[in-house]
Subunit: 389 residues, 2 copies
């Protein structure tokens, strides 16, 4: 299978759309640092380090878009897709002040001195050292977040992006299937997590990003860090893993029960009940996905089912998060977020029930909102899986 790639011409389209949105929002410029927004707008990926890399997208008509990079990164910057025409690369020297450099670039592009710039938006992940530095070099500017203008276009995944998300999801499916079906008893969570990391890369990921392996009582801690606890028969394991593949994220959770082949060590009756409630809640939330439904309404569907069964206080997190160039991005499926889901939104649906000190479970799939309802990217079964371990 050939991995889909984003055609170079698409970056110019994305930039044009972003500039129009930024102009409409009354901004003088978008200022985008290393991270998902920069990958989205320019196809440029770099280490997020202490030297400033910033895409300066002024809204003044006809003004150039400039990718400001440290000189020692000039070669990779000039090789990025957007540098083929949509973006000019400008380099600063080690002994220059990059904040003043950006001020000068912005002043030249907008035809006004830096102190007369009124409003800019910075990428949400920009480091405080850059934010405060830019606030000093643009003293008259109101600062807001670039997501306000970029979120709408980043949410709507095109076919290539969905294809990459699907490939990432299938790769993660294979990792969970292999790890959960293999030996578990007697191994530490950390050892299993190390296997997860290796397998994510072996299955095609560029990079593993997270590898939650929560066994026994640790399954009740949603963001548990894999520990030196040794897995035993007669307990559940929450496996929540993901990484980046072709720049797009995977994120899957399955909860299995390890019985060591002994029926007496099979699922605790309360776990069976809890899991059945969770399974139904997750399925109902997925089924509720359609264009126009409020993000919080999908959360409410999962929460209502879990609450009706008496586990409401044990479902201590939101139902899901968007996924794409970031593992967590818009839209968030959480109470208070009334924005409607739209075609080509991609997000997780991942309710969980956690009985602190005893056990917990979570089921997570990545879903794309299709014209006619949900499109599941993960294909691994969701029924309670009792493994020998």
């Amino acid at each position: 299978m050939t991995r889909p790639t984003i055609p170079h011409g698409r970056y110019a389209q994305r930039l044009a759309q972003a500039r129009a949105a930024a102009a409409g929002a009354g901004l003088d410029a978008l200022l985008v640092g290393v991270g998902a927004d920069l990958a989205y707008l320019a196809g440029y990926v770099a280490q997020p380090l202490e030297r400033l890399t910033l895409l300066v997208v002024p809204t003044a008509p006809g003004s150039p878009v400039t990718l400001v990079v440290p000189r020692l990164e000039a070669t990779p910057a000039r090789a990025c897709p957007a540098a083929a025409g949509a973006v000019t690369v400008a380099t600063w020297e080690e002994t220059e002040d990059p904040m003043a450099f950006v001020g000068a670039v912005l002043a030249a592009a907008s035809g006004r001195p830096a102190r007369a710039i009124d409003a800019v938006a910075v990428s949400d992940g920009l480091r405080a050292s850059f934010v405060l530095g830019l606030q000093r070099s643009l003293p008259g500017a109101r600062f807001s977040l670039a997501s306000v203008v970029l979120r709408r276009q980043r949410r709507r995944k095109d076919d290539d992006e969905v294809a990459l998300l699907r490939e990432a999801a299938r790769a993660a499916d294979r990792v969970v299937a292999h790890v959960a079906g293999g030996r578990l008893i007697g191994r530490t969570e950390a050892d299993v997590a190390a296997e997860v990391r290796e397998r994510l890369v072996a299955e095609g990921h560029d990079q593993a990003e997270f590898w939650i392996v929560g066994s026994g009582p640790n399954s009740a801690s949603p963001h548990h860090d894999a520990s030196d606890r040794v897995i035993r028969a007669g307990e559940p394991i929450v496996i929540d893993i993901g990484g980046m593949l072709g720049g797009y994220g995977s994120d899957i959770t399955r909860t299995v029960w390890v019985d060591g082949g002994e029926p007496a060590l099979g699922p605790h009756p309360e776990f069976v009940r809890l899991y059945a409630v969770l399974r139904d809640a997750q399925a109902a939330a997925v089924a509720a996905v359609r264009p126009g439904i409020a993000a919080e309404a999908v959360d409410a569907v999962a929460r209502a089912a879990i609450t009706a069964a008496g586990y409401g206080p044990s479902f201590i997190h939101r139902t899901g998060h968007g996924i794409g160039l970031e593992t967590h991005e818009d839209p968030y499926l959480v109470a208070g977020n009334a924005e409607p889901l739209a075609v080509a939104d991609a997000f997780s649906v991942e309710p969980g029930i956690y009985l602190e000190g005893r056990f917990g479970a979570r089921i997570e799939d990545i879903v794309v909102c299709g014209e006619d309802g949900p499109i599941l990217l993960n294909e691994l079964p969701r029924d309670l899986w009792v493994v020998r371990g």
Copy 2:
């Protein structure tokens, strides 16, 4: 060998020192997000995600230090070393506004309403979404960077930290020795980089962080991203790799020449000359390290040697960066940084010479400033290494 760990009691000492420094700087509080400062002050390591995690360190005498985390991360937060006494964990719910929550925590600790807070410092890596949110919830506060008060204490590595840096350096040494001594010809840079990543973990790193493999003309791009270029006999390779081990960074660069066992494909005469200049410049810069010398003076030593040989314009980056809980941190060895080096500073010394379109070379070691001069943590030889590949 047992890996050194940071004793739990040390976090209380670090916090006390940080509070005193912050009070001395006229700050009402330090606000520290996920990252190296949080690991340093509280021993708490978490994924840097969109949900706010913030250590609130008020300077008011007797006020509690609070680690604010999303509720679903309460369990790992309460298990961090500082939570054993020095720090109280407070959790916010998914539907709460974490910025207002922090404002309330700070108000309670300082005995003043949030709008009356005058001055705070935020960790340098804090996301713009959090910085701008905090600026809204603390509208009267002047914002500065936490590094201003933390940099001095973070620079001075204690014996446990140096031991971890040494272990990381030795592990990275072994990886370079193995990779450079193995098969190279006919492999892509990306394939060699994948081997580097695996070996860094196999040699004890928690995580590989970077894996520059620049062959042929790519050796002249300092931050080259390993590509699909196939390595051939008769060219150099810059190998610049590192990761985190026990929370502390490794970072080593060696440049080798691949000759395929054929003397006719041995080092180009200009490369031999360039490398000899670089070798001497790096050694001279290392030898110049001693307490009290200005950081920029070490840079000047390397630059003078390279400039005298006519390669000055081809040394396009600073000579080095501090290393510890971050791969790049204070002190930076760069023109303009007149601050003196001090005992227990740890940093890289890594001059390079780059002839664009042809070839380049860099030699990098991690050095600790000892009472009597430099202590080299890397032990791999620095002479021109011609490998069969």
